[in-house]
Symmetry: C2
Subunit: 102 residues, 2 copies
Protein backbone atom coordinates (compact mmCIF):
# COMPACT_ATOMS: atom_id res chain seq x y z
CA UNK A 1 0.00 0.00 0.00
CA UNK A 2 2.66 2.46 1.01
CA UNK A 3 3.81 3.34 -2.52
CA UNK A 4 0.33 4.39 -3.59
CA UNK A 5 -0.05 6.41 -0.40
CA UNK A 6 3.24 8.15 -1.14
CA UNK A 7 1.78 9.17 -4.49
CA UNK A 8 -1.82 10.14 -3.66
CA UNK A 9 -1.69 10.57 0.11
CA UNK A 10 -2.50 13.95 1.60
CA UNK A 11 -5.59 16.06 1.58
CA UNK A 12 -5.74 17.20 -2.05
CA UNK A 13 -4.13 14.64 -4.35
CA UNK A 14 -7.10 12.31 -4.72
CA UNK A 15 -9.32 15.30 -5.43
CA UNK A 16 -6.75 16.46 -7.96
CA UNK A 17 -6.70 13.07 -9.71
CA UNK A 18 -10.45 13.30 -9.99
CA UNK A 19 -10.31 16.71 -11.70
CA UNK A 20 -7.40 15.75 -13.97
CA UNK A 21 -9.22 12.60 -15.10
CA UNK A 22 -11.68 14.77 -17.02
CA UNK A 23 -8.97 15.89 -19.45
CA UNK A 24 -6.34 18.63 -19.81
CA UNK A 25 -7.10 21.55 -17.51
CA UNK A 26 -5.55 24.90 -16.68
CA UNK A 27 -4.40 25.90 -13.21
CA UNK A 28 -7.30 28.31 -12.66
CA UNK A 29 -9.85 25.68 -13.72
CA UNK A 30 -8.43 23.19 -11.24
CA UNK A 31 -8.45 25.74 -8.49
CA UNK A 32 -12.09 26.59 -9.04
CA UNK A 33 -13.00 22.88 -8.81
CA UNK A 34 -10.98 22.24 -5.64
CA UNK A 35 -12.88 24.40 -3.27
CA UNK A 36 -10.61 25.92 -0.63
CA UNK A 37 -7.15 25.05 -1.96
CA UNK A 38 -4.59 27.85 -1.92
CA UNK A 39 -2.51 28.68 -5.00
CA UNK A 40 0.64 27.68 -3.21
CA UNK A 41 -0.66 24.29 -2.06
CA UNK A 42 -2.17 23.47 -5.45
CA UNK A 43 1.08 24.35 -7.24
CA UNK A 44 3.04 22.19 -4.80
CA UNK A 45 0.69 19.21 -5.22
CA UNK A 46 0.85 19.50 -9.02
CA UNK A 47 4.65 19.65 -8.88
CA UNK A 48 4.74 16.53 -6.70
CA UNK A 49 2.43 14.60 -9.04
CA UNK A 50 4.56 15.76 -11.97
CA UNK A 51 7.69 14.53 -10.19
CA UNK A 52 6.00 11.15 -9.58
CA UNK A 53 5.28 10.83 -13.30
CA UNK A 54 1.52 11.06 -12.78
CA UNK A 55 0.88 14.52 -14.24
CA UNK A 56 2.10 16.08 -17.47
CA UNK A 57 2.54 19.85 -17.68
CA UNK A 58 2.27 21.25 -21.21
CA UNK A 59 3.37 24.79 -21.94
CA UNK A 60 1.86 26.34 -25.06
CA UNK A 61 3.98 29.22 -26.35
CA UNK A 62 1.09 31.55 -26.99
CA UNK A 63 0.62 35.13 -25.91
CA UNK A 64 -0.12 35.00 -23.04
CA UNK A 65 1.49 31.56 -22.49
CA UNK A 66 -0.96 28.79 -21.68
CA UNK A 67 -0.22 25.84 -19.37
CA UNK A 68 -2.33 22.71 -19.27
CA UNK A 69 -2.12 19.80 -16.87
CA UNK A 70 -3.15 16.27 -17.77
CA UNK A 71 -2.62 12.68 -16.63
CA UNK A 72 0.32 10.76 -18.08
CA UNK A 73 -0.18 7.12 -19.20
CA UNK A 74 1.02 6.14 -15.68
CA UNK A 75 -1.45 8.62 -14.21
CA UNK A 76 -4.25 7.00 -16.18
CA UNK A 77 -3.41 3.60 -14.67
CA UNK A 78 -3.51 5.17 -11.21
CA UNK A 79 -6.86 6.68 -12.06
CA UNK A 80 -8.16 3.21 -12.95
CA UNK A 81 -7.03 1.93 -9.56
CA UNK A 82 -8.81 4.83 -7.85
CA UNK A 83 -12.03 3.94 -9.68
CA UNK A 84 -12.62 1.10 -7.21
CA UNK A 85 -12.80 3.69 -4.44
CA UNK A 86 -15.31 5.73 -6.36
CA UNK A 87 -17.48 2.66 -6.91
CA UNK A 88 -17.25 1.87 -3.21
CA UNK A 89 -18.47 5.36 -2.32
CA UNK A 90 -21.38 5.05 -4.74
CA UNK A 91 -22.33 1.63 -3.41
CA UNK A 92 -22.34 2.76 0.21
CA UNK A 93 -23.73 6.23 -0.30
CA UNK A 94 -26.83 5.72 1.84
CA UNK A 95 -24.92 3.91 4.55
CA UNK A 96 -22.39 6.74 4.73
CA UNK A 97 -24.80 9.63 4.42
CA UNK A 98 -25.51 11.14 7.79
CA UNK A 99 -22.46 9.48 9.30
CA UNK A 100 -19.92 11.78 7.71
CA UNK A 101 -19.26 15.04 9.43
CA UNK A 102 -20.46 18.08 7.48
CA UNK B 1 -15.05 9.96 -5.81
CA UNK B 2 -15.79 12.56 -3.20
CA UNK B 3 -17.47 10.22 -0.71
CA UNK B 4 -14.47 7.91 -0.54
CA UNK B 5 -12.16 10.91 -0.18
CA UNK B 6 -14.31 12.14 2.70
CA UNK B 7 -13.73 8.80 4.40
CA UNK B 8 -10.05 8.06 3.72
CA UNK B 9 -8.68 11.44 2.65
CA UNK B 10 -5.99 13.10 4.73
CA UNK B 11 -2.48 12.09 5.53
CA UNK B 12 -3.01 9.13 7.86
CA UNK B 13 -6.27 7.35 7.09
CA UNK B 14 -5.06 5.16 4.26
CA UNK B 15 -2.07 4.15 6.37
CA UNK B 16 -4.47 3.41 9.21
CA UNK B 17 -6.64 1.20 7.00
CA UNK B 18 -3.55 -0.72 6.06
CA UNK B 19 -2.65 -1.39 9.70
CA UNK B 20 -6.23 -2.22 10.72
CA UNK B 21 -6.58 -4.69 7.85
CA UNK B 22 -4.18 -7.03 9.65
CA UNK B 23 -6.70 -7.60 12.44
CA UNK B 24 -7.68 -6.13 15.81
CA UNK B 25 -4.94 -3.88 17.17
CA UNK B 26 -4.39 -1.74 20.22
CA UNK B 27 -3.72 1.98 20.13
CA UNK B 28 -0.06 1.64 21.02
CA UNK B 29 0.49 -1.02 18.35
CA UNK B 30 -1.04 1.24 15.71
CA UNK B 31 1.07 4.15 16.83
CA UNK B 32 4.27 2.15 16.57
CA UNK B 33 3.39 1.14 12.99
CA UNK B 34 2.46 4.67 11.87
CA UNK B 35 5.80 6.30 12.17
CA UNK B 36 5.52 9.94 13.19
CA UNK B 37 1.83 10.21 14.10
CA UNK B 38 1.05 12.02 17.35
CA UNK B 39 -1.30 10.51 19.96
CA UNK B 40 -3.77 13.30 19.42
CA UNK B 41 -3.89 12.98 15.65
CA UNK B 42 -4.13 9.18 15.77
CA UNK B 43 -7.01 9.34 18.29
CA UNK B 44 -8.81 11.89 16.12
CA UNK B 45 -8.41 9.80 12.96
CA UNK B 46 -9.66 6.68 14.74
CA UNK B 47 -12.67 8.58 16.06
CA UNK B 48 -13.48 9.84 12.55
CA UNK B 49 -13.23 6.36 11.05
CA UNK B 50 -15.41 5.04 13.88
CA UNK B 51 -17.98 7.78 13.17
CA UNK B 52 -17.95 6.81 9.48
CA UNK B 53 -18.74 3.22 10.41
CA UNK B 54 -15.35 1.95 9.16
CA UNK B 55 -13.71 1.14 12.49
CA UNK B 56 -15.04 -0.75 15.49
CA UNK B 57 -13.70 0.06 18.96
CA UNK B 58 -14.00 -2.79 21.44
CA UNK B 59 -13.49 -2.16 25.15
CA UNK B 60 -12.55 -5.22 27.19
CA UNK B 61 -13.39 -4.72 30.88
CA UNK B 62 -10.14 -6.12 32.15
CA UNK B 63 -7.73 -4.67 34.64
CA UNK B 64 -6.26 -2.56 33.17
CA UNK B 65 -8.98 -2.06 30.55
CA UNK B 66 -7.99 -3.10 27.04
CA UNK B 67 -9.20 -1.40 23.86
CA UNK B 68 -8.90 -2.94 20.42
CA UNK B 69 -9.64 -1.40 17.05
CA UNK B 70 -10.74 -3.40 14.04
CA UNK B 71 -12.46 -2.94 10.68
CA UNK B 72 -16.25 -3.23 10.57
CA UNK B 73 -17.90 -5.18 7.71
CA UNK B 74 -18.18 -1.80 5.91
CA UNK B 75 -14.52 -1.16 6.63
CA UNK B 76 -13.61 -4.50 5.09
CA UNK B 77 -15.39 -3.54 1.86
CA UNK B 78 -13.44 -0.27 1.83
CA UNK B 79 -10.26 -2.23 2.35
CA UNK B 80 -11.09 -4.35 -0.71
CA UNK B 81 -11.51 -1.17 -2.76
CA UNK B 82 -8.14 0.08 -1.52
CA UNK B 83 -6.51 -3.17 -2.63
CA UNK B 84 -6.54 -1.91 -6.23
CA UNK B 85 -4.27 0.92 -5.14
CA UNK B 86 -1.90 -1.47 -3.47
CA UNK B 87 -1.73 -3.59 -6.60
CA UNK B 88 -1.06 -0.47 -8.65
CA UNK B 89 1.86 0.45 -6.39
CA UNK B 90 3.32 -3.04 -6.69
CA UNK B 91 2.94 -3.08 -10.47
CA UNK B 92 4.67 0.27 -10.89
CA UNK B 93 7.25 -0.06 -8.16
CA UNK B 94 10.27 0.23 -10.47
CA UNK B 95 8.76 3.06 -12.47
CA UNK B 96 8.05 4.99 -9.27
CA UNK B 97 11.27 4.21 -7.45
CA UNK B 98 13.64 7.11 -7.69
CA UNK B 99 10.89 9.45 -8.72
CA UNK B 100 9.36 9.76 -5.28
CA UNK B 101 10.89 12.23 -2.92
CA UNK B 102 12.65 10.66 0.07
Amino acid sequence: MSLAIDVVGGKWKMHLMWVLAEGPVRFGQIRRKLDGVSEKVLAENLRQLEASGIVHRELYAEVPPRVEYSLTPLGLTLNDALAALETWGDQHREELAGRLQP
